[in-house]
Symmetry: none
Subunit: 207 residues, 4 copies
């Protein structure tokens, strides 16, 4: 075995380092919360040494901010094309959108970050704001457009809910958040479907 053998390839593009650290941080933060995350673990997961983190981020706080932003920008990127949607009934599209959003949230570590923001939100007000703004612009707005089209088509009921479409996500968020607390029931997915039933029923126009 040569001397150069037992270390991973030294050459990394300098540009990928921050992203790798953020990725590792994301996982650790999501798993252990903010205070529970040790920079050593982040470093280990990223395959670097603790000190290197400080080359790219001034401190733990900054790493978290950056990671949080990155993840939320990533997650919401897919949503943007929403409005480009064919004519026809709006309800199935809406339902699917909620479903996709739920699945996304339940699987990714966005959930972990969200939990952190809930508890430590006061420490990161700009993140909370950015989070809010992004959600409003990228999620609520397209949703509102969709809903309004549904109302215009006589498909959806006309109601105050259209002013705060984001609330349609609420049940999904709670189910995702409490999933780890809930007993391991095998009908997890069905829970959300049941909720969707109620929600859709609630907004469909009555004959």
């Amino acid at each position: 075995m040569t001397a150069e053998n037992d270390k991973p390839p030294r050459r990394r593009r300098k540009d990928t380092r921050p992203a790798e650290i953020i990725e590792a941080g994301l996982i650790e933060f999501a798993l252990n919360g903010y205070a529970g995350t040790k920079l050593t673990h982040v470093a280990t997961r990223a395959g670097i040494s603790k000190g290197t983190i400080y080359h790219y981020f001034p401190d733990k706080d900054a790493l978290f901010r950056q990671a949080f932003r990155t993840r939320f920008i990533d997650s919401l990127a897919d949503v943007e094309e929403f409005p480009s949607i064919p004519d026809g009934p709006v309800a199935p599209i809406l339902r699917m959108a909620l479903r996709i959003a739920y699945d996304e949230l339940a699987q990714s570590d966005a959930l972990g970050l969200l939990k952190i923001m809930l508890v430590e939100g006061d420490r990161f007000p700009e993140l909370a704001k950015a989070c809010r703004d992004d959600l409003l612009v990228k999620v609520a707005e397209p949703l509102r457009m969709l809903i309004q089209r549904g109302i215009a088509q006589g498909e959806l009921a006309d109601g105050a809910y259209q002013t705060i479409p984001a609330i349609l996500f609420a049940p999904g968020v709670v189910i995702a958040l409490t999933a780890s607390m809930a007993e391991n029931t095998t009908d997890g997915p069905d829970v959300f479907d049941t909720v969707l039933d109620v929600l859709m029923m609630g907004i469909l126009k009555r004959p």
Copy 2:
């Protein structure tokens, strides 16, 4: 030595101390999360010294558990009389119940504890379980009975939602949880009312 002694008199309050410490702990935990709560701060808030906490609680963990239990037992005590409800339409009662639950959650520091359980639930599995069990027995069960009466009366739609009535709380929980993250809009209550509209619509039987 001046007239104002710089040390407050030692008071002996064996009976009330635990409750005072729990109260102080509750506030600190709700404000700062579990890891973020320093026993010094709890002591200061309770007007005692650090060591005194250890007279009444073996460690920080135990204090949190006790505080959590105390608060949840307190909060849920009011709910118990639910089922003793007069005949007649069920929907307004349901709506009021959700409203009351929301207000309760939004105001008390139960919200802070809930946040902690979301993030650190893994560390306190028995609390998570107790929380779940209490909610199921004290909240979900009466709710289910109410709903079933509504269905029997032809008032509510027959649907899968009756099997998981707790889900009706979800929107309220999210609104409460994210309230601190949300911009301070004065129409907070209206948001929940709007949600109630949708929810009630979703479960009312269609003509």
Copy 3:
């Protein structure tokens, strides 16, 4: 049940309290070492409260000193009549004396105190000195007389050992000290007998 019933008899002769505390302290010190002994445990064992100890002893240190003295004075009280010994061979008497001393040491908590003195002797120099003096006066001196009688009778060999008769105890002390470290062999007593054999052989006059 009357009010006076659930407490042990209140009336104690004031004079017995210190002795009771010392007794309790002795046991705890012997079991747990000096630093390892908590005054709470001493109090509990003595059936009193922590504060009461401070009525009789200024501090933990003082309690230990007093306890130590008491035990050693007690233990050595029996030894004093040693010299009043009938004429005849001295060896069996010597042997029995060593045996008795060994048994005494092995059983009582004097062993525990001795261990403490070994480790913390520097903190209690007067105790070490008192211990030494007592042993010399009460044990070594009678022993020396006995030995000299043996030599005079032509029974024991004439040797330097007569100047430091205390050394005859050494093997017993080591066996007692290490008994807790040693594997639980059932032949414990025989070990000491074997040692006695060697010792006696070593001092008996050769034909």
Copy 4:
């Protein structure tokens, strides 16, 4: 800022640090016992900061175990060549061996560690066992062989003592242990010589 920086330079000595810490710990443990040893003092003695200890040892317990093992392995390493001994009378060799063992014990801080093991042996049962095992294998066994040769040669008396040769060390151990308690008499060595006289007399075969 003056020319003498008030902080010593950080040195990086990964290889030597553990040994230095152990050395410092050894001294402190020997001086103050286990509970009496503060890691701050160990750190100060080692010329490092408190935290650095935790780079190399998970906790105080581990440091003690490691230190203990290190010292005992060191101390007993020299003894191993024992059996390779020329023909001829065995008694002088035995006597010298006991003398060497005594000197070794009396000087090194092995004595301090031994004291700790006597008092806190219950907390470190594996150390007690390792200690016992090492002593048996490395010390008692060669000694037994030597003794048996002596008996075979008609030099030593045949007696039960040969089954527990370790007991020959007992007087030396007691003398060493109590040396700190004893008055600083300058004839310390002679005490042990006197004891050796008795011991050797006791095992030499009588004509």
